[in-house]
């Protein structure tokens, strides 16, 4: 039989062990077992001393006798647990007999193991090593998690700064291209030049959209997504969004129809953010439907919630990719039908906005073809 493959063992050199026992012979025996392994050993003779010494020595492991004058081992352990919580070094009880009542009470007090007397050097060391190694791995993991979340938050900060600083110059490029385009309409440019200007305009426009999505994401990721709900007519938001998006849809020969709207007169939501979600769902529907398609927008209500659905004529989403839809930077294998760009962030942002409203967002393929994206927002009780 092959031994199982084990992860590399951390070095125990220089790790600190606090031994607490009123029996000096026990202390000497244990020290003699531990010191050759390169461990730093500190000895105290009572629970009270242990509590004081722990605070300055900050051991990686505590060997704790149970029966001592003054506070006993269990009490000492409970006090340490109360003081240091999950950061407490592992405590191993020294027990005269492996009596199960003692063992159980020791584990309940926060100990991780027990060491029966008389000590057998190799067995004692083996047990100690396991707990020390766990302790070290645990600490390293905590450090890693802290490092990773610090790295993640500086990534978000950077993302925000970059997106923010790119936005104004891009808006200027787009705006200046529009002025140049006007010159083209006035006959001041050649056909080739007009084509170049159109390219500059559309590229800066789509870059601006991407930058805005990145900025949204960094705001959301840094926990700064704040919803400012006000009474809003969702019907008006839908009408405005459909009208505006129809201008772009027309370029692809497509049309957006707003049908069957049954909504309360006012809903307490963050209007601009909900509009952003609706815009995103409609833009996607146009992007992923073939040219000359018809996209439907429907809205309905129940006593519990209001639902907005956008029905496209695209190829649908492969079922095994459905789970990717609302995640950051995830794109499915389905591509836009006219070479449109996508960051894979839009739906993730939509999900976060809707969830911040206490709602849900989902998608499903229709048996007849096409895909339906819908979100629901709870009605006030």
């Amino acid at each position: 039989m092959n031994p199982p493959v084990e992860p590399p063992k951390p070095d125990l050199q220089g790790r600190k062990v606090l031994i607490v026992d009123d029996d000096r012979l026990n202390l000497r025996i244990l020290s003699r077992i531990l010191k050759p392994e390169g461990l730093i050993v500190e000895q105290v003779y009572s629970g009270e001393d242990a509590l004081a010494q722990y605070a300055t020595f900050m051991p990686d492991l505590v060997l704790l006798d149970v029966i001592m004058p003054g506070i006993n081992g269990f009490e000492t352990c409970r006090t340490l647990k109360a003081r240091y919580g999950d950061n407490m070094a592992p405590v191993i009880f020294i027990t005269a007999k492996a009596e199960s009542d003692d063992v159980v009470e020791g584990l309940a007090a926060g100990g991780v193991d027990y060491l029966p007397k008389p000590f057998r050097g190799r067995e004692a060391m083996a047990r100690l090593k396991v707990h020390l190694q766990n302790r070290i791995l645990n600490e390293e993991q905590k450090k890693l998690v802290a490092q990773l979340s610090a790295a993640n938050s500086s990534k978000n900060k950077l993302l925000g700064m970059v997106a923010h600083d790119l936005r104004n110059p891009l808006a200027t490029v787009r705006g200046l291209a529009e002025f140049l385009r006007d010159d083209g309409k006035d006959g001041k440019l050649t056909t080739d030049q007009i084509d170049l200007v159109e390219n500059i305009y559309s590229v800066s426009q789509s870059m601006l959209e991407m930058v805005n999505e990145l900025l949204d994401l960094s705001v959301i990721e840094s926990g700064e997504l704040k919803i400012h709900p006000k009474p809003v007519s969702l019907t008006e938001v839908l009408e405005r969004s459909v009208t505006l998006n129809n201008i772009n849809a027309a370029k692809k020969g497509s049309h957006i129809n707003l049908k069957s709207v049954d909504l309360p007169a006012q809903l307490n939501v963050d209007g601009p953010k909900i509009k952003q979600v609706i815009d995103n769902l409609i833009t996607n529907a146009i992007k992923f439907s073939p040219p000359n398609s018809s996209v439907s927008v429907e809205a309905s209500q129940t006593a519990a919630d209001c639902t907005v659905a956008v029905l496209d004529n695209g190829p649908g989403i492969p079922e095994d990719e459905m789970h990717k839809l609302f995640k950051d930077f995830s794109q499915t294998s389905v591509a836009p039908t006219a070479g449109e760009k996508s960051t894979g962030l839009g739906l993730a942002i939509c999900r976060k906005i809707i969830e911040a409203h206490g709602g849900t967002i989902r998608a499903n393929n229709r048996p007849g073809g096409g895909c339906t994206f819908m979100f629901s927002i709870p009605q006030p009780a």
Partner: protein, 139 residues
């Protein structure tokens, strides 16, 4: 619209001044005075007494909030529109409290920007003859 008033256009980025300058020219034939920071804006305001001030928020030397405070102190009637790159509600509200008339997002599509400025100017100076205060007073 034929807006012929004096506009003090303040932003530390030359490309923004260029772009918004072109936007303003769509509203008529305004006289545009450019400033690159709050300090310049305050001293040019005193010198030219413009009809309208467009004031960026984040600028070196003196930011827009400070410049707004000083301009409003000197002339409580000043018409100031803040230029912002983010809808930072706190700053926008702070500027409104300090006396700013409105705010304009610099990343707005050009036509939206033209429409917004047209509306603001029509509200302040009347829809048709939107000449400057001094010129309007002249016979």
């Amino acid at each position: 619209m034929n807006f012929t008033g004096k506009v003090l256009l303040t932003d530390d980025e030359a490309h923004i001044r260029k772009f918004i300058g072109l936007v303003l020219k769509r509203l008529g034939s305004p006289v545009i005075i450019e400033a690159a920071n709050g300090q310049e804006a305050v001293s040019l305001y005193e010198k030219h007494k413009p009809d309208l001030v467009l004031l960026d928020v984040n600028m070196p030397i003196m930011d827009g909030v400070q410049a707004l405070t000083q301009i409003m102190q000197k002339d409580p009637q000043a018409l100031v529109i803040m230029l912002t790159s983010l809808t930072n509600r706190q700053i926008v509200e702070q500027c409104a409290t300090l006396g700013a008339l409105d705010y304009l997002r610099k990343d707005l599509p050009r036509d939206e920007m033209i429409a917004l400025l047209t509306k603001i100017i029509a509200d302040c100076f009347g829809p048709e003859d939107s000449s400057s205060k001094e010129e309007a007073a002249a016979p």
